[in-house]
């Protein structure tokens, strides 16, 4: 159950909802009905992200053969009731939250965030390879087979490696050992003379995501009345910050 839930990520942070501490508790009754109680960092967290996570939790847990019904229950959120009801009854986001005049579909939103996750994980891998002394042309033409053989010592990079690989496979961007390991999300290789500007753009993606990630963790910690103590948290980032930014190397 927890493994399935752990596969659900906060779309904006690209971190598992269980790692982030969003899921408070799960109860299972004799009929195989599952209640998943979860809270987000603030009362105001974006309604569509909240809906997306609730729906992903329902899907993930429902895929267990013995589960009859999975009922995510969002607590302490401005539109908790509508989201809980909508997800339970299998309604669309647009039907559940009319006042938010949703423009795009939830699937479009999913794809947008899958792209961000892909680019963020990819930046981690490219910077780590540079850190190991790989030249840009070698990175651009590296194939999946060679990528699999590279060993990374940083715990965070080692954690991100299979996550990046999963998305390559899931999106079909690379499947076979001879396929290129570093391609743009739209498909197509990254040309070696374009890698610098390509990385600048990926950094932009990361800066925005880190802002949210850092605030969200801080806010969640306050909400849960836990002491906010940078030292007490596992430090994975070079800045010694919140531990979420997944940067393998850096100056300060």
């Amino acid at each position: 159950m927890w493994q399935r839930l752990a596969s659900v990520t906060d779309p904006e942070l690209d971190e598992s909802v269980t790692d982030l501490g969003f899921v408070e508790h799960v109860t299972v009754d004799d009929d195989g009905d599952v209640d998943i109680v979860f809270r987000l960092p603030t009362y105001w967290c974006s309604a569509n992200f909240a809906f997306l996570m609730a729906d992903d939790m329902r899907r993930a847990v429902s895929s267990l053969p013995w589960v009859r019904k999975a009922r995510p229950q969002l607590r302490d959120h401005m539109v908790a009731e509508q989201i809980n009801l909508g997800v339970r009854e299998g309604r669309s986001f647009a039907d559940s939250l009319k006042e938010f005049a949703p423009g795009g579909s939830l699937d479009e939103l999913r794809d947008k965030f899958r792209r961000k996750a892909f680019e963020r994980r990819q930046e981690v891998m490219i910077l780590a390879l540079r850190g190991l002394g790989y030249e840009d042309p070698a990175i651009c033409r590296m194939n999946l087979g060679s990528f699999d053989e590279v060993e990374f010592t940083s715990a965070e990079v080692a954690r991100q490696k299979p996550r990046y690989r999963d998305l390559l496979i899931e999106t079909g961007l690379a499947c076979l050992p001879e396929d290129r390991a570093f391609v743009a999300y739209e498909g197509g290789p990254i040309k070696r003379h374009e890698l610098v500007s390509y990385l600048q753009r990926l950094r932009g993606v990361r800066i925005n995501m880190e802002f949210n990630s850092s605030l969200c963790r801080g806010l969640l910690a306050v909400r849960n009345r836990e002491p906010v103590d940078g030292k007490a948290e596992p430090t994975r980032s070079p800045c010694g910050g919140c531990g979420s930014c997944a940067v393998p190397s850096g100056g300060q």
Partner: protein, 340 residues
């Protein structure tokens, strides 16, 4: 006045401060409670531990305390106090211009009081702009595009009614339009804090300056792109700056991007008081140096001259403050206060 470790005087205009009442007595509903709770969470999660306030003090503080935090214990020479109404959440509003002006009256030459309007009010918004100009002589406004109103969950700078307001502002010389484009506190599906509407409004109103508070974070790249295109778009550092304490490397990356794209002449310091107090922010900012790798990569530096511009000179230019004359005035005021 901020005195550097080498004894140099730096003139500080705090570009983003508030005098709010978020107390339970003023809360209209659960949204009002959750709104101030969310601010308090920002305060507790990004402040140094020794700068934390108790919750009740944070919900409502006195004018005397604000003055002390900004100008006596704090390094500000002047502060821009912004108005935020949120009348759907608070009985008397969160911090209206009347409340702000009343507070500012007691402290001559210290505060620049900005107004606010909601273009969804139509004609009444235009009347209100006239009222604020005539009564308070405002030079700027703070706009909150994600504010709830009835069924509406936000508006855009490009709405026809907003354009009518901007035309009037331009005519009356209300030239500084501060726009909250930052963390999503009150969300919308399409995200009312999306920065793209700034692009059109800034192009169409060349006589106005658009100061984008919180630099559009978490949409920094979009904001930078717009600021490069539009000469009248500025970035306010409120909320970005406190990262200097807990996550200095992250702050370095953000300020490097801003220096590269937006430039040192178009970035404004703001403490976002009372979410944060200015002393520690200004001290840390003054002592901050960009890491060598970012300097080289972006070809930018955060020099003492750049810091002076960001801390006060840029805002002085926008608000027509003669820095030397203002210093003399404040020194005289302080002397009179000491003598009195």
């Amino acid at each position: 006045m901020f005195i550097t470790p080498t004894g140099e005087e730096v003139f500080v205009i705090d570009g983003h401060t508030h005098f709010w009442d978020g107390s339970p007595a003023n809360q209209l509903n659960v949204h009002g409670k959750q709104f101030i709770d969310c601010f308090y969470a920002y305060h507790t999660s990004l402040s140094p531990k020794d700068k934390l306030w108790p919750k009740d003090q944070f919900e409502k503080y006195s004018a005397e305390q604000m003055y002390r935090d900004l100008f006596v214990d704090g390094p500000d020479d002047m502060a821009i106090v912004q108005s935020t109404y949120l009348t759907e959440f608070y009985k008397n509003g969160f911090n209206t211009i009347d409340r702000n002006a009343e507070m500012a009256k007691a402290y001559k030459d210290r505060f620049i009081v900005n107004g606010a309007f909601d273009p969804r009010d139509g004609e009444r918004a235009l009347e209100y702009i006239h009222y604020m100009k005539e009564t308070f002589g405002i030079k700027g406004v703070k706009l909150y595009t994600a504010e709830w109103k009835g069924e509406s969950r936000g508006w855009k700078l490009t709405d026809p009614n907003a354009y009518r307001c901007f035309e009037l502002c331009q005519k009356l010389g209300i030239t500084n339009i501060h726009v909250h484009k930052g963390p999503t506190i009150i969300p919308l599906d399409k995200d009312a804090f999306d920065v793209h509407d700034v692009d059109h409004a800034a192009t169409d109103f060349q006589g106005l300056n658009f100061i984008i508070e919180h630099c559009g974070l978490p949409r920094l790249d979009d904001f930078c792109w717009i600021a490069v295109q539009e000469t009248n778009v500025y970035g306010g550092l409120a909320v970005a700056l406190p990262f200097i304490h807990g996550r200095p490397r992250y702050f370095a990356e953000v300020i490097s991007e801003l220096l590269f794209w937006v430039g040192e002449d178009k970035i404004l310091f703001g403490s976002d008081y009372a979410i944060w107090t200015p002393r520690w922010l200004v001290e840390k900012f003054w002592n901050f140096e960009l890491p060598e790798d970012l300097k080289q990569e972006h070809g930018v530096d955060l020099t003492p001259q750049a810091k002076k511009k960001i801390l006060g000179l840029n805002a002085a230019r926008l608000y027509g403050v003669d820095v030397e004359a203002q210093k003399a005035k404040l020194a005289k005021g302080a002397y009179a206060a000491a003598a009195g």
